[in-house]
Structure formats: structure tokens, C-alpha cells
């Protein structure tokens, strides 16, 4: 059977041999294990695509949702039970194309969810059409003609949407990626990890060969400090992160681009308005007595809704 220590189920992984997604699963399960997470308090949510199958391979609660909608499901889960650790896995088509409205909204809310973007520049499961991260003019072997649309830059989009932890990993650098995932999960707020994920079947441009000599780690530069420690630094750190995100050519950076721990999470924003929320999550609140009577009896009802009640004086 599946096992907690490895965070892996015994479901056969049906990705193509050599697919970068294997690295992502390996990094995730290592990260979960090293963070010593309780798999029953962890929820891995995904969209549709090759990437969408991820939860079935992870020994933790898994919610494999609809194309583009993982973040919407995840948001409901996290809001209703903030005690759960929620990790989203999605494809580049999934998160940045059909689902981009939710991607942007998550940043704006800074809800404490970790998003792992399987960035393979193609729609894998539907046979290699151009995804939103493929550059204009690129022609993968799966395309009849060069791509006609400009690419979306996930890091830039996350920055401008309000994500407070933004990193890039490489699917084949499992240990490095694992550390990013750990940091992202530990971070309180919306986090994005853009994972460069070679698709061996359809993408013959952005291959392991392509990445091999180009990738470098941001943290190797000792002067690189992506963390906002005072609110005045935001603009500066953001624009540095943005500039880094535009680097794509002979050198491609991976590592942490931006962290801002100073922004309230959405759960904190709710708790401010509604203190009970932080004491007992809605998912654990009692709504009925043992005999099935609602906890709001007629007396409670009258008090709650007194504004709507009129006493008759004939």
C-alpha cells in the first residue's frame, strides 16, 4: 500500500518516461516528508492535464478538479478549513490560460496556498498545442506552424497580481525544487513556484539539453536578497524580481525571486472582521445539537434577526 513516510501512493504513474513531472512529484513528496506534514491535513489540488494527475500519486488528500479551476476549489478548501495545508498543481495552460482569472485573484487575496506551476510550454495531455508560456515564433515538433501568440511571464504576472512568495524551480533539480516547495509551504500567503518542466514528448525546444547550461541559481549570488523586510522595500524588490524574470536566454535564473512576509493573508483579513473565524474554523463548527435541532433555536433566531421582526400592536 501507499505510505506516509514516502508520501507516495502505489498508483502507477502514467506520464511519459523522462517527463519532468516525475521530478516534481519526487520533490513534493520529499518536501512534505521533511516538513513532517500530516497527510490527512494536507490537500493536493490540481487541474486537468498531465500535471492534473499529480494528486493521485501523492499520499495525502487529493482533489483533481477541472481544467483551470484548481485555485477556485483550493480557495474554498482553505477558507473553510484554514488548518489544512493546501498545495495546487496545475499546467501552464491550466493556470495561465483558461484559469488565469483565478490565478490573478489568488494573488490579490494573498490566501495561504502554494501553487506549483508545471511549466512545459505546451498543452501536454491534448497533444502538444502551444501553451501560454510558449514564446511567439517558437515551433515545437507538435505544432504545424510557429506559435502566433506572445508568452505570458508567470513570475511577472504573479508579481503584479500580489503573490507574496515567488520562485522558479527546475523539475530535474529535485532537491533544489524540494527546498523551494518547503519554503513556499512555510510562507504564509499566496506562493507561486514556476517549475520548468521538460515535456519529452511534445516539446523539443525547451529540453533538458536546452536548460542544461543556461540555468543558474539566484542564491549563488550572495548579494541577491529577495525578501522584503520593510514595507518601503517593496517597490525595489519587486522591480528587481521583475528584471530577473525577464532574463531568458543564455542564462535563466532559478530560485526565489520575491518574498514579502509583511502582507496580511486573506485568512488574517477575515479574522480581523470576524474573530471567531480564527478560533474555530467553519469546518469544525457545530451547526446542530445531537437531536438534530439546529443550534439556532427560535430564541436565537429572534435575537439574530430582530431587525426583521415586528411586534404587533393592534
Amino acid at each position: 500500500m501507499a505510505s506516509k513516510s514516502t508520501f507516495r501512493t502505489d498508483v502507477w504513474i502514467d506520464w511519459c518516461p523522462g517527463c519532468g513531472d516525475y521530478g516534481i512529484v519526487a520533490a513534493m513528496s520529499k518536501a512534505f516528508s521533511e516538513l513532517n506534514l500530516d497527510p490527512s491535513k494536507l490537500v493536493v489540488v490540481s487541474g486537468i492535464g498531465c500535471s492534473g494527475k499529480t494528486p493521485h500519486f501523492i499520499y495525502a488528500n487529493g482533489v483533481h478538479t477541472l481544467h483551470g479551476r484548481a485555485i477556485a476549489f483550493a480557495s474554498g478548501i482553505k477558507l473553510a478549513n484554514p488548518e489544512l495545508t493546501v498545495v495546487v498543481n496545475g499546467g501552464d495552460g491550466d493556470l495561465l490560460g483558461i484559469g488565469v482569472a483565478h490565478f490573478v485573484a489568488l494573488g490579490r487575496r494573498n490566501l495561504d496556498i502554494t501553487v506549483i506551476l508545471h511549466n512545459n510550454q505546451v498543452y501536454g495531455l491534448t497533444k502538444g498545442q502551444a501553451s501560454p508560456t510558449l514564446r511567439r515564433g517558437d515551433k515545437t515538433k507538435s505544432l504545424p506552424a510557429p506559435n502566433m501568440q506572445d508568452a505570458v511571464n508567470p513570475i511577472a504576472l504573479a508579481l503584479s497580481s500580489g503573490y507574496t512568495f515567488i520562485a522558479r524551480g527546475y523539475a530535474l533539480w529535485v532537491d533544489h525544487l524540494k527546498e523551494l516547495i518547503k519554503q513556499a509551504i512555510r510562507h504564509k500567503g499566496a506562493s507561486l513556484i514556476d517549475v520548468l518542466q521538460p515535456c519529452v514528448t511534445y516539446n523539443d525546444l525547451y529540453t533538458t539539453d536546452y536548460y542544461k547550461d543556461k540555468l543558474y541559481k539566484l542564491e549563488d549570488d550572495p548579494s541577491w536578497d529577495p525578501v522584503v523586510s520593510r514595507i518601503e522595500e517593496v517597490e525595489d524588490k519587486m522591480s528587481k524580481a521583475l528584471a530577473k524574470s525577464l532574463e531568458w536566454g543564455d542564462r535563466i535564473p532559478v530560485g526565489v525571486f520575491y518574498v514579502n512576509p509583511l502582507i496580511e493573508t486573506y485568512n488574517e483579513r477575515i479574522a480581523k472582521r470576524n474573530p471567531t473565524y480564527s478560533i474555530i474554523p467553519p469546518a469544525k463548527q457545530l451547526i446542530a445539537k445531537n437531536n438534530g435541532e439546529p443550534i439556532i433555536g427560535v430564541e436565537e433566531f429572534k435575537k439574530l434577526f430582530s431587525d426583521y421582526i415586528i411586534k404587533i400592536v393592534k
Binding site: A72, K302, Y308
Partner: protein
């Protein structure tokens, strides 16, 4: 008088809502039953809107009718719109300041309405000014027209209270409240109570209103002598709720244990979520007994899917919307069905198709809710006939959703949503929370979430301690993808059989309500907010010797087919009449689909306005006289 119809017209944003609220509260306070509908354009300021209210000393009104006894017009446009809605012997209250206004000067009137009204004016021999129209009403139609100079009245007020002219304008709507109160003899105490209820936190405004209303009322009383004085109420209630449909459903959900409400703004659903926002911190005597997350999402796709996500954690989760929003929820609905997730969608029907008539009503989305989303999965579609029913049903929707692990669509219409009514408090003995096989806590991590051993598998929620998987793909008992044909066969049927189970569990009599003694000789079939109008029409018709029964369909999926068949076939096929607010006779089609019984007679309306009592009575007579198979109703502005 025991029963009075009042109409108040004015432009959107001119305060007729406040007038209506004050009147309704005062009347409720005095023990009368009130039912009041609001009609308005999809517009923020400037278009014509009106309140159509019925007051009764004998009962809680269930229907609205025309003509009205009193029509109070805040502006000239209203006079032109509604002059033919007033009963002969009725009263028109209008502003003499607009006497000279001609219809063609009113730019906010849509050309279609204008040209029809102009031709009506010609027909009755009125000129094109308010003045000439008023004269004709008075002379030819026996209507008492009460012209008041609104500006003079306001001038008095502004002088007395030191208000600027523009400020004083905001009290204009109180003039008509005063006038109406005078005509029907509404007592000062109730009015004062109602004003405090509305403006309690702003005593100066309350005081001005009191003075103004009392002043006008006294003057009217003096001049006209309470010609429509209401009898003392015979209703036997000590306290009432004064609520819209949105309100009472919002309350029902809260009592039913709602802990997560997502929404994206849309008329006529938003008001329910706005109520929930007020109750996020559920406080009783200063102590919180829970908290509701009210989540305004980026679109309806996120609304439904986040609610489904929330439901997976064990909260009672819901979203509210209307047609365009539901159209975007269809994919999510299928996922919920496939994954056996208890989620409740409260669906307020407005006038379609497409953007349609966003602020008007219809019952035109029934078939859509029954078959929305690709593929086959069980869902429950439940409709409510009036405010109280809607309250219980809002709770019932959650119970069904959790007990059978299905999405439930609670189908309401804009008429019910936006009608304000006095209703008695719900009876708590009728309320139970049934969470079915929901497992909030377990020590067992290993669960077959979709255990095929029973149709309803035990449901450990996310966070309970169990580890479970969900997927929109066909899945095995663990929730992992499988394309195996035999698992497919069984898992698909496991889900589908819930419909049979629900059909067996919930008595047919609760899903289709028969109003009759068994000796009636015709039958009216209907659903949703037409209920009250149908019941009242049958009562009226009985006075004329017609004896009709009513079959109200409450649950469309699973439809109580056997009971319906039995009832339908006990009537002559020529004397079964379907009444709906749509063009397709949708409920009748659902009945045909499930029972093979084809209804032959129809009374339909799709103008976006409610079905009124007098036109329904007329329609039924026309059908019963066997002159017509299909009567199309169209009354109302």
C-alpha cells in the same frame, strides 16, 4: 375595507423603496397582512419603478391583483404609466407641480411604452399632459384625483427644519406615505414605529418624516375622510417577520447551518449574500455562535467551485446566483455530481434568455437546471411556492445534499425573491438538521470514499483524519482514476441510483402538494411563486361556482411521478390547466417526460411581470369555457 391594493410609482432612486418599507412596517405593526412587489428597470437612477402592494385585514395576502384602490405617483411619468391601473372609485395622488408635463417631454420613457401610452391617451380622449389626463380620469372614470403640491409641502418642511431645497427633496416620498396613510386610516403610532425602525439612528430625519407624514395624513383625512379605512385586523399573530424572499432564504440557510456562501454579484440573487455579509459573525447576545465565510469571487465559475471545495471540508456550503451566473456554473455542477459533493445552489430565475430582463422575473430555467452539464449524474431540483416554504426548503436543501451527497438546486424566481411579505415566524418543530453519513472526525486514514457497497458511501471530510481522493474522471472506490469498463458500469450506476433512493425516501406528498378535497372538477398545475395566485384564484372562482384543485410541484428531480400521474388522470384531460411564467410550459414538459401525461391547456406569461389574480381568474374561465387551449397573459407595466 378588509383588502386594499396600493401602487406607488416613481423614478428609480427617488425613494419609493423607503415609502414602501415604512408603509409595510406600519401596516404590519397594526397587524395587517402585507404583500408587496417591486418592479424596476435594470438601471441605477432615472427609469420608472413602482411598488405594488396588497394589504389585508383578514389574512396574509398570497397574490396581487389589479386594478388598485390607491395609486400614488411621485412624478409625471408614473401617472402616464399607471393611470389605467386604478380602479373606478379609486384614488390617484399626484403632484400638481407636474400638471403641465406632457408625455413627450419624458425622455426616460422607452419609445415602445411611450407610443402605446400615447395611443391609450387618445383612445380615452385625454390630451398629452398630466393635467388633461387627470381631468379625464376624474370625469370619465370616477377616479378621485388628489393633486398635492409636493414642492409647497416640502417648502414648509425645509423652512421648519432649516433644510436646503435639495435636502428637502429627499422627503418627497414621505408625502405619498402620508397621503396613503390618510386614505386608509393608518394610525400614527404604527407610522411612528415604522419611521423609527427605518431612521432610528438618525433622529432628526425620523422627526421630519413623522411630522411630514402625519401632516399630510391629517390633511387628507380632513379633506377626504378616510374613504378607504381599513377594518381592524382579524389576523391572530403577535409578531411577524417582514421579509423579502431573498431575506427569508438567507435566514433559512443560516438556521440550516450555512458556513460558507460564495457569490458573484447578480440581480436578483445578490441581496441574499448581502444579508449573509451582515451575519458573518453570528452573534447572539454579543456572543458568537459561529462564523460564516461570505466570499465574493472573481466570477461564478469560482463561486461554484470554491463552494464545492468548501463542501469537501464538511461545511454546509452554498452559492446563490441567477441565470447568467448559473450558465457559468454548469461545469462545476457536473464535478460535484460526479464526486458526490453536497453543495447547494440557490437559483433565482430572472427574465431570460441571455441578459434578458435582468430585474424582471420568470420561471424559464427549470429545464435548464434539470439537465445542465454534460453526462449523467443525480441532482435534486427543489422549488418553493412562498416565503415560508422557501425558508424550510433552504434547510431541507442542505439536508438532502448531505444525506444523499448530491448537488441540490433550490429554484426560486425573482417574484418571490423581491416580494416583501409579512409572515409568521417559522415553526421550529418542523426543522431538523440531518447530516447523513458525514464524518467530521475519524482515526482511520484509509477510506474508500466511493465504497460501492452502498449507494451512499460514508463521507469523511477533508481534515477529518481520513485520506481521500477526488477526481472528475471516472474513479474507483478510492477516488483514483480508472477507465475499467466494469468499474465504470458500477460506479456510474451507484451514483445514478441515488435518484431512486431519494424517490423512495422522501414521500411523494411532500414533493407534490395537492390542494383540494377530491371533488373538484378541474385542476390547475403550477410551481414556484404562482402558488398563492393560483390558490386565491380558485377561492374566488369557487364563489362563482367553479370548483378547482391545485397541484403544486415542489420537487422536479426526482419528480413524484406516480402521485402526479394519479392526480392528473383523475381529471378530465380538458380540465387540467398548466400555469407558468414561461412560454414553453416547462413543468408540463417535465411531467410529460416522466409520466407520459401531456397537459393540453396552458396559461402562460413571459413579460417578466408576475401573474396577477384577476388575469389568472379570467384565464381559467376562458380555458374552462373551452374556447381556448392557450391563454397568454400580459398585464402589468
Amino acid at each position: 375595507m378588509n383588502d386594499i391594493h396600493v401602487l406607488i410609482g416613481g423614478s428609480q432612486g427617488s425613494g419609493i423603496d423607503t415609502s414602501s418599507l415604512i408603509l409595510a412596517s406600519a401596516l404590519s405593526r397594526s397587524g395587517y397582512g402585507v404583500l408587496s412587489n417591486r418592479e424596476y428597470y435594470s438601471n441605477i437612477v432615472g427609469r420608472h419603478s413602482y411598488i405594488h402592494m396588497r394589504v389585508s385585514a383578514l389574512e396574509i395576502p398570497r397574490s396581487l391583483s389589479y386594478p388598485v384602490d390607491i395609486f400614488a405617483a411621485l412624478d409625471a411619468e408614473s401617472v402616464f404609466f399607471h393611470f389605467d391601473d386604478i380602479s373606478s372609485r379609486g384614488y390617484l395622488i399626484y403632484d400638481t407641480g407636474v400638471s403641465k408635463t406632457r408625455i413627450r417631454m419624458i425622455s426616460s420613457m422607452e419609445p415602445e411604452s411611450r407610443s402605446r401610452i400615447e395611443s391609450k391617451l387618445r383612445t380615452i380622449g385625454a390630451g398629452d399632459s398630466v393635467e388633461s389626463l387627470v381631468n379625464v380620469l376624474e370625469s370619465k372614470f370616477n377616479i378621485t384625483t388628489i393633486g398635492l403640491s409636493y414642492s409647497s409641502i416640502l417648502d414648509v418642511i425645509s423652512e421648519k427644519y432649516g433644510l436646503a431645497k435639495a435636502e428637502a427633496q429627499r422627503f418627497k416620498n414621505s408625502i405619498v406615505v402620508g397621503a396613503i396613510a390618510g386614505l386608509i386610516g393608518l394610525n400614527y403610532e404604527s407610522l411612528s414605529y415604522a419611521i423609527d425602525r427605518r431612521f432610528g439612528k438618525r433622529p432628526k430625519i425620523a422627526a421630519i418624516n413623522k411630522a411630514l407624514i402625519a401632516g399630510v395624513a391629517d390633511e387628507i383625512k380632513e379633506n377626504y375622510g378616510e374613504p378607504l379605512k381599513l377594518e381592524k385586523s382579524k389576523l391572530n399573530l403577535e409578531e411577524v417577520l417582514l421579509v423579502s424572499g431573498n431575506d427569508i432564504i438567507g435566514m433559512g440557510k443560516i438556521v440550516g447551518g450555512l458556513r460558507y456562501q460564495s457569490y458573484y454579484p447578480i440581480t436578483p440573487a445578490t441581496d441574499e449574500s448581502v444579508l449573509h455579509e451582515t451575519y458573518e459573525a453570528l452573534k447572539v447576545d454579543g456572543e458568537s455562535i459561529g462564523s460564516i465565510i461570505v466570499f465574493q469571487t472573481e466570477d461564478e465559475i469560482a463561486a461554484v467551485n470554491s463552494a464545492i471545495g468548501a463542501a469537501l471540508t464538511g461545511v454546509r456550503a452554498s452559492t446563490s446566483t441567477s441565470g447568467p451566473g448559473f450558465s457559468l456554473m454548469v461545469e462545476g455542477l457536473g464535478w460535484a455530481g460526479k464526486n458526490e459533493v453536497p453543495v447547494v445552489i440557490t437559483y433565482y430565475q430572472r427574465g431570460g434568455p441571455s441578459t434578458g430582463l435582468p430585474t424582471r422575473g420568470s420561471q424559464s430555467d427549470l429545464l435548464f437546471t434539470l439537465f445542465a452539464s454534460h453526462g449523467e449524474f443525480p441532482r435534486v431540483v427543489l422549488s418553493s411556492g412562498d416565503h415560508l416554504e422557501a425558508f424550510y426548503d433552504a434547510i431541507q436543501a442542505f439536508n438532502i445534499a448531505e444525506k444523499y451527497q448530491v448537488p441540490v438546486i433550490h429554484l426560486i424566481d425573482k417574484f418571490l425573491a423581491n416580494m416583501t411579505a409579512t409572515i409568521p415566524l417559522p415553526e421550529w418543530s418542523k426543522i431538523r438538521i440531518d447530516r447523513g453519513n458525514t464524518i467530521l472526525k475519524t482515526d482511520n486514514t484509509v477510506w474508500r470514499r466511493f465504497d460501492k457497497n452502498s449507494i451512499i458511501s460514508p463521507r469523511p471530510v477533508l481534515g477529518s483524519g481520513a485520506i481521500t481522493w477526488y477526481t472528475g474522471d471516472e474513479h474507483n472506490e478510492l477516488g483514483h482514476i480508472t477507465e475499467d469498463p466494469i468499474n465504470r458500469l458500477e460506479m456510474y450506476e451507484k451514483r445514478w441510483k441515488k435518484l431512486q433512493l431519494i424517490d423512495a425516501d422522501i414521500p411523494e406528498e411532500e414533493r407534490a402538494i395537492y390542494y383540494g378535497d377530491g371533488d373538484e372538477d378541474f385542476l390547475v398545475v403550477g410551481w414556484g411563486s404562482v402558488k398563492g395566485t393560483i390558490l386565491d384564484s380558485l377561492r374566488e372562482l369557487e364563489k362563482e361556482g367553479y370548483r378547482g384543485a391545485f397541484l403544486q410541484i415542489k420537487m422536479f428531480q426526482p419528480l413524484p411521478s406516480r402521485l402526479i400521474s394519479k392526480i392528473l388522470s383523475s381529471f378530465s384531460p380538458e380540465r387540467v390547466i398548466d400555469v407558468e411564467n414561461n412560454i414553453g410550459g416547462q413543468a408540463a414538459r417535465v411531467i410529460a417526460m416522466n409520466t407520459g401525461y401531456t397537459i393540453r391547456k396552458y396559461i402562460l406569461k413571459w413579460t417578466g411581470r408576475p401573474i396577477y389574480l384577476m388575469e389568472l381568474i379570467d384565464g381559467i374561465k376562458r380555458i374552462l369555457s373551452e374556447r381556448e387551449d392557450r391563454v397568454v397573459l400580459s398585464y402589468g407595466k
